[in-house]
């Protein structure tokens, strides 16, 4: 299956809608261990992405990913703007000259590396990387398998739950020290929402 423009448009649309719908949950999670703005920030950013859906859909995929990244950088208003923005900017950069789904792990991996560099963080520090890194590993290990989508979905869900006992050492939650233990990380959760939206859209394709 080669990625078609119609499918790409649906992926962006559904992912944005799902993030917007999950804003209250993300905010509640962030109020527990952060500054309580993750939901409203992500909502603002993805509403801006939705408002540019026609432009984004008309662009080649690599340019479209960069437009999404730049839009998030300019509109989110919190650290998650540059973090998610860098993911899409780097993924767009990496996609040039590559094809999907064959090079998906490569492209996704470039995005993950950019998040890691921007946040000077790595997996295990109770951040979105605790979802993105395991998903990247699944994409590498299970590439080409018929049940890849289901595996990505499960990996993301399980990875979110694994952030609960973690102690945050990066981001706002790190100020809480041991008190960050026992809560789902909001960034891990928003990454999972995005990934699940992509999985559902791909599964529902005609």
């Amino acid at each position: 299956m080669t990625l078609q423009p119609d499918m790409f448009r649906s992926l962006v649309k559904v992912a944005a809608e799902q993030v917007i719908a999950s804003a209250p949950e993300l905010t509640a999670l962030d109020q527990a261990i952060g500054d309580g703005d993750h939901g409203t920030n992500m909502k603002r950013g993805f509403e801006a992405v939705l408002s540019k859906l026609d432009t984004i859909s008309a662009q080649p995929f690599d340019e479209a990913l960069k437009t999404i990244g730049k839009t998030l950088v300019m509109t989110v208003g919190g650290a998650s703007g540059p973090l998610y923005g860098s993911f899409f900017l780097a993924a767009g950069e990496a996609l040039a000259g590559k094809t999907l789904p064959e090079d998906l792990a490569d492209v996704f991996g470039s995005g993950v590396n950019a998040v890691s560099a921007r946040g000077r963080s790595h997996a295990g520090e109770k951040t979105m990387l605790d979802v993105l890194v395991p998903v990247l590993e699944t994409l590498k290990a299970d590439a080409g398998r018929d049940d890849l989508i289901e595996r990505v979905r499960t990996t993301a869900s399980e990875a979110v739950e694994r952030t609960v006992p973690m102690q945050a050492t990066k981001g706002r939650a790190s100020f809480l020290g041991a008190r960050s233990v026992g809560h789902v990380d909001p960034g891990a959760r928003s990454s999972c929402v995005l990934l699940h939206a992509v999985c559902s859209t791909l599964e529902a394709r005609p």
């Binding site: 703005d37 920030n41 860098s86």
Partner: protein
């Protein structure tokens, strides 16, 4: 007058950013260019890349610009803003690892004496080392 390093203050709160800039101006006068920004794109608490880029432009100096930030998102957004500048300007802007109010005052005082960007940054960051 020789050009001095410009100072940019980035807080989640526009009031804190403005108050910090007021303090800096009272202490060093108008010989150092000071710009500030605060608030997310909707005007609530937060920071945003577009305003930071505007503030860098306002405080721009041939000697460079030192940015002082408050909490995590202000730092990440400031680093992103710097990366979105043209490559030749990018290396003339630094985000200081220093407390926002004390750092801004120390950085501006050092800048007023005509110091280099690296010296200005070092003086602001001494506050953290201590």
């Amino acid at each position: 007058m020789n050009e001095t390093v410009g100072i940019v203050i980035v807080s989640h709160s526009k009031d804190i950013a403005k108050g910090t800039a007021d303090m800096v101006r009272q202490m060093v006068g108008s010989e150092v260019k000071v710009a500030f920004c605060g608030g997310n794109p909707d005007g609530g608490l937060g920071t945003n890349v577009a305003s930071i880029i505007d503030a860098i432009d306002d405080a721009w100096s041939a000697k460079g610009v030192a940015i002082l930030v408050d909490l995590g998102g202000a730092e990440t957004n400031s680093e992103m803003a710097v990366e979105m500048l043209e490559p030749e300007r990018r290396k003339m802007v630094v985000v200081c690892n220093a407390p926002i109010v004390e750092g801004a005052v120390m950085a501006a005082t050092e800048a007023a004496g005509g110091s280099s960007l690296e010296q200005v940054r070092a003086v602001a960051e001494e506050l953290t080392a201590g």
